[in-house]
Symmetry: C2
Amino acid sequence: MATQDRLIESTQELLWERGYVGTSPKAIQQRSGVGQGSMYHHFTGKPDLAAAALRRSAEQMRAVAEADLAGPGTAHERIAAYLHRERDVLRGCRIGRMAQDPDVVADPQLRAPVEETFDWLRGRIAGLIAEGQAAGEFAAAADPADTAAALVAVVQGGYVLARAADSAEPFERAVRGALGLLAAHRAD
Amino acid sequence: MATQDRLIESTQELLWERGYVGTSPKAIQQRSGVGQGSMYHHFTGKPDLAAAALRRSAEQMRAVAEADLAGPGTAHERIAAYLHRERDVLRGCRIGRMAQDPDVVADPQLRAPVEETFDWLRGRIAGLIAEGQAAGEFAAAADPADTAAALVAVVQGGYVLARAADSAEPFERAVRGALGLLAAHRAD
DNA sequence: GTCTATACCCGGATAGAC
DNA sequence: GTCTATCCGGGTATAGAC
């Protein structure tokens, strides 16, 4: 693997595990096996490398979500597949985690991939809900964009509750609860 | 105000703004106006002081939530009041934020107040939902604990989406979306 | 109780040799 | 491209004087 890729991949992992403030250049060098000079040759510094890592994580998250959302089945089934996807719940969301870090939120280069990912995800799910409404699969009363925001929030908040409890259970409850409420909306 | 209280209060603020890793003893001393020696006289170190600050924040969060949840009105109205409470959305939740920090999650002293707060909140809301079901106000199909977890997760996840977007809008959408789904569950 | 001095390692980066 | 040396400040604390 190319040196840049090893740096980016190690940075992705560390950002996920320890956040932006908690991730040091030295730790990145150790995990990637890339030396100091080499790292600063390929990237101008920590923010630059973190931005590259976040862009890649955002791409990957999008691809993984799209795999479920574009799958077979009704809108409800595809949303349920997304929510029930197997996850390492206690690790949390590598993109959502960044939203807690003030240094990330303050830097447009770092915040952009985070913002874009959630904008896309909310829009994608809102589209599915609208589709389901058009097909008579959901009641038409709910606003698709609001409902989509709620569903995405349940996942992100589910991670918070799971980490707080040091157990995946609250995440699973939240997802079941959300799908239960959504089911009540089905037109049939 | 007593020296301890100034230290605790400043630590509460800094933990909220910058998280545990992002909060240094030096910053606490500067914000509180308390000197180095004084700080280490009253607390054994950063974890000790952070634990005291988190316990206090947990108490306060609980009191604020209880004010809405124990208010007048039906179960649905009280839950809606809690969800719609005026918030400085972009600041996020001072307790939920801690769940992202690996050093907090790894230290039982620090994680305990976080875990207890969310356990209490989920239980309190689950009780309200059960009450509403008994009164015929909600359909009996939904599991109260699951639904409560979903509602709490919507709030926590709403903060994540809002900070990602640098706007309160996604939070408000998520709350509206959740209440919209909940409304569909009303027995009438 | 509070102050100043001191310690030691880490964070984040630059410089210049190879 | 990569390595080692060097820099300066900050993080987190201890020691001992007042």
